[in-house]
Symmetry: C2
Amino acid sequence: MKIVTAEQFWESNKDRSTVIKNEAALDQAVLEIIHEVRTNGDQALQGYTKKFDGIKLENIIVSAEEFSEAKSIVDSEFLPALQLARQNITDFHLAQKENSWFINNQPGILLGQKLTPIDSAGVYIPGGKAAYPSTVLMNVIPAQIAGVENIVITTPPQTDGKVNPYVLVAAEMLGIKTIYKVGGAQAIAALAYGTETVHRVDKIVGPGNAFVARAKKWVFGDVAIDMIAGPSEICVVADETAPPSFVAADLLSQAEHDESASAICVTISKETAEKIKAEVENQTESLERKAIIQQSVKQNGKIIVADSLKAALDIVNEIAPEHLQLMISNPTESLGEIKHAGAIFLGNYSPEPLGDYFAGPNHTLPTNGTARFASPLGVYDFVKKSSIIRYSKEALQKASESIITIAKVEGLTAHANSIAIRKDEPNA
Amino acid sequence: MKIVTAEQFWESNKDRSTVIKNEAALDQAVLEIIHEVRTNGDQALQGYTKKFDGIKLENIIVSAEEFSEAKSIVDSEFLPALQLARQNITDFHLAQKENSWFINNQPGILLGQKLTPIDSAGVYIPGGKAAYPSTVLMNVIPAQIAGVENIVITTPPQTDGKVNPYVLVAAEMLGIKTIYKVGGAQAIAALAYGTETVHRVDKIVGPGNAFVARAKKWVFGDVAIDMIAGPSEICVVADETAPPSFVAADLLSQAEHDESASAICVTISKETAEKIKAEVENQTESLERKAIIQQSVKQNGKIIVADSLKAALDIVNEIAPEHLQLMISNPTESLGEIKHAGAIFLGNYSPEPLGDYFAGPNHTLPTNGTARFASPLGVYDFVKKSSIIRYSKEALQKASESIITIAKVEGLTAHANSIAIRKDEPNA
């Protein structure tokens, strides 16, 4: 893992504008899939599932038998662990619930904001070799707490036509009845527009590959989406109180996600940097996913040496990392200086995997610097607001002249008329 | 204005799937503009301004002299009216402010949600013949209340190279110092990626034409956007207590926006429907924007006759209108039945133009049925959340086994290691 100075970091980060990649080929492929699904419905889903997942499915909905079978397969210690995680995730997200409100600051005037859950949500769970039961919890629980009535999951089938049993038991634990065995852009199209079997939903959430991400961008507007997720990132700020072995383990846990994951450490001394570097190299050797980790560390890993804690936190705000660990002597004291981060882990005993699975806050977080403007997935993503306006006749009379003046300036005379007519009809 | 039955409404609304239009030509044009602006910066902005706005600008920033001149031009009654509107908009949006919070439900565990304003926002104000000072207030005030430090406006110049004076005085009233004379997709590209003169921002808000909307869709992800706005809509539910002249005036105020605006009325009796229809026809004759109104009413206007209030509200929820007026005997009683609407206006003296300019809630609202999942623009659009996690050593020990179990199921053994290493190093 390379060690760089703060100056080198700032220099290399000068043009942080994200490049709009030329995705014309991907767009064409994705748009064709969307069009096909909208035109041919289930038949298109079956075709793509055969083509991309290598399996011909008669029925794209997971059956009751499949749910039962999954329960008999999973490790016995798994369900109790998942139950604890579920409880923590529920507790945290319950604290996110907001209320509708009214204000009545002036006589005859009632203004408010009404919160209503969205009707339906579709959760995309990636397939492939890995299982993502934690993603089921992190996406479904906030929707349930928000009050979403219809929640469905879609996930690509394995080549044997089944769905990962850990995903199934996690879904069943939460009472999810409908799981579609569909993945990729075709799943996003089906959730956005519906087919004979798949009901269209109001919001699509959950991570996915490039096809899924691009399809989400295309259907965005016709349906709500959570965010377009990029590769996972961690930034660890470590001073001399941070055990180098802990820091290294946390950096490596991020690096194992995939080759494009990014693990960055910011230290206040060259000495700390050297110790962490040695630990990274040492620990890598014995890790199962060594090949991925080495690629990721080589491409995106670095240890930055800053002159002071303040300089280190400036770098953090510039990176706006998905995960930030503050492994410094008084981490909570520095919370006010952090402007941009998806999740902030404080102290030496709050490693990022704790947040991935267990602590309670959501693990769906803004990546790639988007913590500058985006938030973790939350209950607020599954409700929407309606403004409420109620004026009495007297209150409107008092406001009439001002409204008419502004309407006329904007050239909208029928707007002015809608106010004027209420002044001129004394019998109304 | 045509009168239809509820059955006819449901029948015609059966396939409400929005069509992905073939926007390939628009996309190509927009992407070329974005690429040009990113490559050639200010020079590209000047070129497009000459091409699309018909004016060669030396300086794209509004000068102090232009601000002064604007003040001397505007109607004298305008500024006091705008001040009142500003106060109301401020009062309402102050009520939207949220706090950061912490919970400490278990010993040694602190979890929280930190709110931070985004650093910068760019507000697009449409140009053309009309002036949109109310749009300045509705977009800037929530950002200021959220605590956004850098707020800029961009708006296309008139052919004389100047900016509408009403927009300027509204901006100056709010303390906005930087206004770019740039419109269209080039303005969105400049705000998203920056040029020599234009600083890139974290979020772009404000309405615009098809080029602006499409450019926002393309830069979305690299930068945050508010929403992709469609044509304006109103839905008025009227019973026999609603004065038909009021209902007609409100429908027509919406219809005057443009030909694609949509004005729909839902009544409980044929008689009420007939009276409103007659009033619509009668009032249209004397309105300034008669030509636009007639087109809009013909294309999108309708009066639906439902059997009951419940049936009427079912139709409302299906439409999910941008603006909903409940002109019925006890409108507030029905608030709990409304699931989807951008803004809800209660009673006979709360016409939609009151909300456009004056009452306080935002006039940037979800259109085209997106009230099913989207909210009015608000203070919450200009802040983002960071999750906070702090575990003590003891709390982490207690959770270790569960976390390791889940990490292993997901195949992420370096994640498991990051937890295990904290158990195995007693001296750390």
